[in-house]
Every structure is written in C-alpha cells, then in structure tokens.
Symmetry: C2
Subunit: 285 residues, 2 copies
Amino acid sequence: MKTIAIAAPGAMGAAVGGVLAQHGARVIAALSQRSVISQQRAQAAKIVDVDEKTLCEADIILSILPPESALSWAQHMAPLLQSAPKKPLYVDCNAISPETLKQVARVIEHTGTPFADAAIIGLPPGEHNPQGPRFWFSGPHAAQLATLSDWGLRVRVMDAENGAASALKMAYAGINKGITLLTSAMLINASRVGAADALREEMQESQQALLQRMAKATPDMLPKAWRWAAEMDEIASLNQGELATDRLYQALGEICRQLAEDRQHDQQFSTLLAAFFQPEADKAG
Amino acid sequence: MKTIAIAAPGAMGAAVGGVLAQHGARVIAALSQRSVISQQRAQAAKIVDVDEKTLCEADIILSILPPESALSWAQHMAPLLQSAPKKPLYVDCNAISPETLKQVARVIEHTGTPFADAAIIGLPPGEHNPQGPRFWFSGPHAAQLATLSDWGLRVRVMDAENGAASALKMAYAGINKGITLLTSAMLINASRVGAADALREEMQESQQALLQRMAKATPDMLPKAWRWAAEMDEIASLNQGELATDRLYQALGEICRQLAEDRQHDQQFSTLLAAFFQPEADKAG
C-alpha cells in the first residue's frame, strides 16, 4: 500500500488527500498543531493523524501550503528527513516562483531526500471541480509521480527541470489574474470619466467573450485582492530583468493592494466596478 | 450638401472619407503637402483636394491623424479657424488621452470653433471590416454628429463631456492591447524555463478561447510593437495617480520597446513566441 503524507490539510490539501484515500492510498498528516476545523476536515477525508517524524516514512510527501510557508516548512522538516533511514519523495506543490522553489529544493536535497517540483492548476477536487485540478510535475524525479494517476489524480509529467512546474503555475496565474486586474483597472478609469456605458456597449458588440469573463472574474477577485497582491509580487520575481515583467507585476501587486484598501474604506473602486457589471441594479438603486 | 473635411487621408482617414463620399457627402482634404500615395488614395476615395483655408468652410472637420500629430495640427489650423467667418464643428478622432484631448479642445475653442471628442473603434471600413468601425462622440456638441449615420458611419453619441470618448478609446485599447502584451510576456517567461509545452496544453484544456485569441493577436502585435509603445505611454497618463494604472502601462510600454528591439536584433523573444504558437513547425525545423 502506498503511503502519502500531506502538508497541510487546508482546503486543497484535504481535498487532494481525500481523493488519494478514496482510491486506496494511506494518507497521513500531522494534525496535532492544526485547528479543530483542519482536524475535522482531515478526518472527513480519511486522513490519518501521525507525528511529524512519521511523515518521513511516507513514500511521497506532498507540500500543499500557503505560498509563504513553503520554505519554512521545508526547513522545519529538514532535520527529520536528514535522520530518516528511508527517504520519501518530497514534492513541493506550492504557488511559488522558480527562485523560491530552488531554495526549497536545496534545503530538501541537502538531507539526501529526492525532490520534485509541482504545480496544481484548478480548484480543489469536489463539488465545483469533480474532475479535480491538474498536477504538473517537473524535475529529475518527476516521472515516478505518474503513478499518482492510479490514486485518482490528474497527472502530467513535464520533460523539464525543477522550477519549470513552478514557472508554469506562475505564468498561468500571471495570465489569468493579470487579465482580471488590468481589465478592472481600465474599467475603473473609464467609469470615472463617464465612459462606463459606452465601454460596456462596445465590449458587448466587439469583445463579448472577454466581457463575460470579466463579469465573473472581477467580483470573484475583489475579496481576494490582498492574497493576490502577494502572488503578483511572487510572479514579478519570475523574470530576471531582461523583460519588464517584474515592473508589470509589481504594478499589478500595487493595484491589488489599492483595491483591497478601497474595499475596506470608501469603496469608490468597488462601487464603480459593481455599477459597470450591474448597470440596471445601479439605476434602480 | 454636407461638406466634411478630413485630416488626413491616411489608411483610416481615406477609408472613412470614401464611405462619406459614397453616401453623398462632399469630402475635402488638403493634399498638396501629402505623399503621392496619400494623393492617390484620396483620389480613389473621391476626396476633393482643397487648400487648408478652404477646410474651414466645411460643416465638420474630422481630425484623423497619428496620435502625436493631433495637437500640432490643431495648433496649425487655429489661425485659419480664427479668421473663418463661419466655423465648422471640429472633431478630434485621435487615440489620445483625455489630458491631451483637453489641450486640443482649448486650442480649437479659443478660436470660437465648436469642438467634439471622438473615438474610432475598429478597423477602417473596407474589405476586412465591411460594417466599418464605430464612432463614439462626447462633449456638448456630440449630439449634432448623430447625423453622420446618414452618411454611412456607425455612430454612437455618449452622454458625457469632452474627454470621455478619448477615455473610452484608451480603456478599450488598454484592455485589448494590454492583454496581448501581458500574455506574451508570460509566454516568454514560461518558454525560457521549459514550460511552454505544458502551458500550451494547460491553456488548451482550461483557457481555450484565450489561447485562440493570443494565437492571432500575438503575431499581429510584434511588427507594431514600436507604435504600441507610444500608445501604452498615452494610456499610462489616463490615470491621475490614485490607482497604479500609470505604472502598469509604463511597464507595458517598456515591454513593447523590448519586443521591438528584440525583433530587430537577436529575436530571442519573437522566436520563443513563434515556437509557442507553432510547436510543430518548430520541431520540423
């Protein structure tokens, strides 16, 4: 029986663990330090509580964390991995830049533990995404992870080094979230000078697919703008200075912070965006 | 008979003049200083050559110029308009920011000539756009321009001040061109670390409409990157500092310049983009 350790059973980690367990894997996590909600979620997903040292006995460790914890958790686990007699394959699945990924890889590989890079693209498996997200793996040990498809995951193996899966995730998020932010900023600018109705009508005529995409993506983005800011900062570091992508994503990160601030205070930006997408509601009110 | 003056019979101006002439308007332009190509194009469109002073006798002057000429042409025409006994309606149709538009408006209105703001959205009328582009008008004199629909133009009148049509044009271009540039930059970044095939496959699965849009828009953009750079700089000035849109479009302008430079020199960026959209051609070559 295959044993897979999950760090940590958040919304994505628990749902992924649940799929693996349903398909017959033994799924473990260290839950003693976790919130009651996380413990209940893990229990519901048939994830077995173990101590941290036991995580190292798994065949595979999937690190699925808030991006800012990816490196610190690797550093925390390093001594345990160092002293483990049989090393698991450590897979970093987090939304971090290739630079950060390489730091994590160095920490883990230094303990003699094999390492792979992964990108999870899509929503957690469940009601809103029955097929589940796609797992992309890169690095010298990526090929072994193809077997995870036997345990219910949608797996793609990249013929590329560590860092490539992280770059994929960054580029994909950079495109999709970047479009939402850039478009929202332009809608706000147009609305402030009385051009909202015209821009909506023009887009209805000549950019219908994009307008529909925005009508869904913009309201979804606003409550997450703070979290997106950190992600834009990370994407800014994807580029090593030859293209101005760094400045582009720094500006998008700044726009995230401005939208988040606005939402907590006078809401002028969020009001303009709401009126753009719901002109009738606006006129009725 | 309605007389409409066009400055200048470039690709857009001549095609618009041709539509007006076909619908029975008398269309005039000052051609003596223009290239032989422009003169031939004007002649083919049934545009009548007059001297610059005679332009002021038109009912309407449509300024359709490269954006950087919008203000200087207004300044050049101001003394002639000043001394004209009957003033035409001067319509600035150029892709300029609301700030620049207001400078043009001040120059023209100072001569006692009524002024309107316009945005032309879409390709010139002709083979590739049989319906023709849409003309959006704003400002206190915009309503009079509704009659241009009798002369074959697709007209929309905005209930908004001078500057609003310019802002509409900027926002629309900012969204469409911004998406193309941002996405191209991310495709280049992903391709440089071996993630191109994965990103294409992922987008084919989850972002098909966007991928199709990019496959057309990116190659179309590359030869125009120099011209787009100036437009991005203009869009950057749309914002007056409350949102970081200025920094966002400054970065996009910089990316335009980098793509244009690359295309003239080592072509590493354009080669990566070509390979992204034509992977089979790349492998065959």
